[in-house]
């Protein structure tokens, strides 16, 4: 008996490592295909990737900049994880982030003077979070109530948010200074300083948001795996019918998962505008919502896994700027790489599943086979 239990433990260790291994291989393959794309464009891939690494790790400021860029990615990714665990695919982080950021901006510009200074930063974050939550709640409710495909509705909500943002920045929320100069560049006024997040390093614009994001990852992990609400969200995500028989309101938890997901994307927007940008401009945080999805997937849909994944994609984003300058390759390369990472990671699941199935089949076979399994596990 002792032997078989040792086998099972060894097997479980492999079951935990295999998905990580598959993800790493998928990432390597994405970089390899990316290298061929670079070659086809006439750029030296080794030089390009070296420039990318140098851009991210070359100086301590660059490295800190990676943390600044990773912060909104991590927050978005945590939200995407929660939605995924609840069985909903949130492609709408991009729009939820915009709405959170623009609402936070409007709030702090309107109310900063009439509130106690030490509360402004926190209240602005809260308002941004709630706005993102509301933007996420809509597709969540539509899926729960009308069975509207959430992938399509969130994509549409993104487009609506983009237009809303452009409308606000070029009209009602335009920077008075731009109007006075007659240039009318679509951007908001600068946020009042009381709404800024505590800065940790001025050259890389690193701010306290990075700690908020890591704390949120831990909170999300605790909520999902150690509270009743989290248990129910995951139950609905794994098997709606079983959850329904267990007396869980599937509709309510689908809406909730999407709302929480939107809340985190909204928080990401608020954190980014209050911590790094200090004003809304056209093209603010473009692509962060989609990158956050890739990060979530790469972190294997676990809030804690999202932490290293967000760092890795922060490296890609910061490094891409340097790569563009050094080998004259457009930053769109990073979007290509992200697409490839998604494709390879979702494909790699197939091999993990097949490996797990084979192992399960072996385990079912006669107990006499146990020593053989042990030998194989040892190899």
């Amino acid at each position: 008996m002792a032997v078989s239990s040792k086998n099972r433990m060894g097997g479980d260790w492999w079951a935990a490592v295999m998905p990580l291994l598959a993800t790493a291989v998928a990432f390597a393959l994405a970089l390899l295909v990316g290298a061929f794309v670079l070659l086809a464009l006439g750029a030296d891939p080794i030089q390009a990737y070296a420039a990318l690494l140098d851009g991210a790790f070359g100086t301590s400021t660059n490295l800190l900049r990676v943390f600044t860029r990773s912060t909104p990615l991590l927050l978005v990714a945590i939200g995407v994880c929660i939605a995924f665990r609840g069985g909903v695919i949130n492609i709408g982080a991009e729009g939820q982030l915009f709405v959170g950021a623009v609402t936070a901006t409007a709030f702090s510009l309107a109310f900063a003077n009439s509130l106690p200074p030490f509360t402004v930063g926190f209240l602005t974050l809260l308002v941004g979070t709630l706005a993102g939550a509301a933007w996420g709640a809509v597709p969540g409710f539509l899926k729960a109530r009308f069975d509207v495909n959430e992938i399509l509705s969130t994509v549409m909500m993104n487009e609506i948010a983009i237009q809303l943002l452009l409308f606000l920045l070029s009209g009602p929320m335009i920077d008075p200074a731009q109007v006075a100069q007659g240039t009318r560049v679509p951007q908001s006024a600068r946020l009042p300083e009381v709404a800024w997040l505590l800065e940790l390093d001025s050259r890389s614009a690193l701010h306290i948001g990075v700690l908020i994001a890591i704390a949120m990852a831990v909170v999300a992990w605790i909520v999902l795996w150690h509270t009743t609400i989290g248990y129910r969200i995951r139950a609905v995500g794994q098997n709606k019918d079983a959850a329904r028989y267990a007396g869980i309101s599937v509709r309510r938890y689908i809406t909730l998962a999407m709302t929480l997901s939107g809340a985190l994307a909204g928080l990401a927007g608020a954190v980014h505008v209050q911590g790094a940008e200090h004003r809304m401009v056209e093209g603010f945080a473009v692509g962060y919502g989609f990158s956050g999805i890739v990060v979530a997937l790469f972190g294997r849909l676990h809030p804690l896994g999202a932490i290293p994944a967000a760092f890795l994609f922060g490296v890609l984003l910061v490094g891409a700027d340097k790569m563009q300058r050094t080998v004259q390759v457009p930053t769109a390369t990073v979007i290509v790489l992200q697409g490839l990472v998604v494709i390879f990671v979702v494909s790699s699941d197939y091999f993990v599943r097949r490996w797990l199935a084979r192992r399960a089949a072996r385990a079912i076979q006669a107990p006499a086979a146990a020593p053989v399994v042990k030998q194989e596990a040892g190899v």
């Binding site: 695919i89 539509l142 399509l152 549409m156 769109a332 992200q338 490839l340």
Partner: protein, 317 residues
């Protein structure tokens, strides 16, 4: 009075023209979904098709005949469809996510090629209108229906053809069988994997053509992310059309109208209470409409393929 009639005729003719990208992409997606696969990579395939076509025909690019450009776009789309088939059918990936991957890939690669090959600016003269003899002389109707370019005629011809293929041919029967009950189709000797590969390649090719229509027949230019979600709208149109090509066509026309609101508002200087309507608010209309349409589409699920988004593994279903 004549002015209003003239405006209406122009608007109707433009509606047909602008519905073509939706139509090609949605009909392609319809084949894919009827075989039980959800291809969410349409957006990326359209973008790749859009750039390929205009680069192939532009004098600054390869300088081919416009039809060759469309053929290139179809080939690139088909290639991406094949890749999507490997990922979704063979590797049985989660179709919602893999599609986002292909859309990101297409967005990135088309932007990249646009910058590297075309230097960020490319224009081309696309298709001239073809006046159908006799028919184009009919008042009003002639201008609306029979003075369009070849991409428009082909798009609308595609609708009855796809109805015929789906309902009257052996291949159409196989597609429907594979989408409804792949295990049963497999037992009857239908190669489920092969049918799904073929629909995905066809869907990719049509998405590529949809992109080509957008860049060469509608605008004559390429811009980064010029599809602006049209690929995703095309996927939504398949739901809206209840998996029937005729109703998908109706949806494409509806979206074309919504899409053009903002153009007409500018051309004809539409105002509400004396102030021009902000264009951004009008651009939102098709996206809001999509969501509304998806809410009502759930009543039309008679033709919904039962195996949609479910990967097939012999012996497991």
């Amino acid at each position: 009075m004549n002015d209003i009639l003239a405006i209406f005729i122009e608007a109707a003719a433009l509606t047909l023209l602008y519905s073509t990208p939706y139509l090609y992409a949605a009909i392609g997606e319809l084949f894919v979904q009827r075989s039980g696969v959800l291809n969410l990579g349409v957006e990326g395939m359209m973008l790749m098709g859009a750039f390929t076509a205009i680069y192939a025909i532009s004098p600054d690019g390869l300088g081919f005949h416009p039809l060759v450009g469309v053929l290139f776009a179809a080939a690139v789309g088909a290639l991406m469809g094949l890749a999507a088939a490997v990922v979704n059918v063979t590797f049985q990936a989660e179709q919602g996510i893999s599609g986002i991957g292909f859309s990101l890939f297409g967005l990135g690669l088309s932007s990249l090629l646009f910058k590297v090959l075309a230097g960020g600016v490319i224009v081309a003269r696309g298709f001239d209108p073809i006046f159908i003899p006799v028919l184009s002389d009919i008042p009003i109707v002639g201008r609306i229906l029979f003075q369009q370019n070849v991409m428009v005629y082909a798009a609308f011809a595609l609708v009855p053809i796809s109805v015929w293929v789906l309902n009257r041919t052996r291949w159409g029967l196989q597609i429907r069988a594979v989408g409804q009950n792949p295990a049963a189709a497999d037992t009857m000797g239908v190669n489920v994997v092969r049918v799904r590969y073929m629909t995905l390649i066809l869907g990719g090719a049509l998405a590529g053509i949809a992109g080509a229509a957008l860049s060469t027949a509608l605008t004559g230019i390429f811009q980064e992310n010029m599809t602006e979600g049209k690929g995703f709208i095309a996927v939504a149109l398949v739901y809206f059309g209840g998996w029937s090509p005729w109703r998908v066509m109706g949806g494409a026309l509806l979206f074309s109208v919504a899409n053009n609101l903002q153009i007409w508002a500018q051309i004809y200087d539409l105002r509400i209470a004396g102030t021009p309507i902000p264009p951004n608010l009008l651009i939102m209309v098709p996206y809001i409409l999509t969501i509304a349409v998806l809410i009502f589409a759930r009543q039309r699920r008679r033709l919904e393929p039962a195996a949609l988004t479910k990967p097939f593994q012999r012996g497991e279903n």
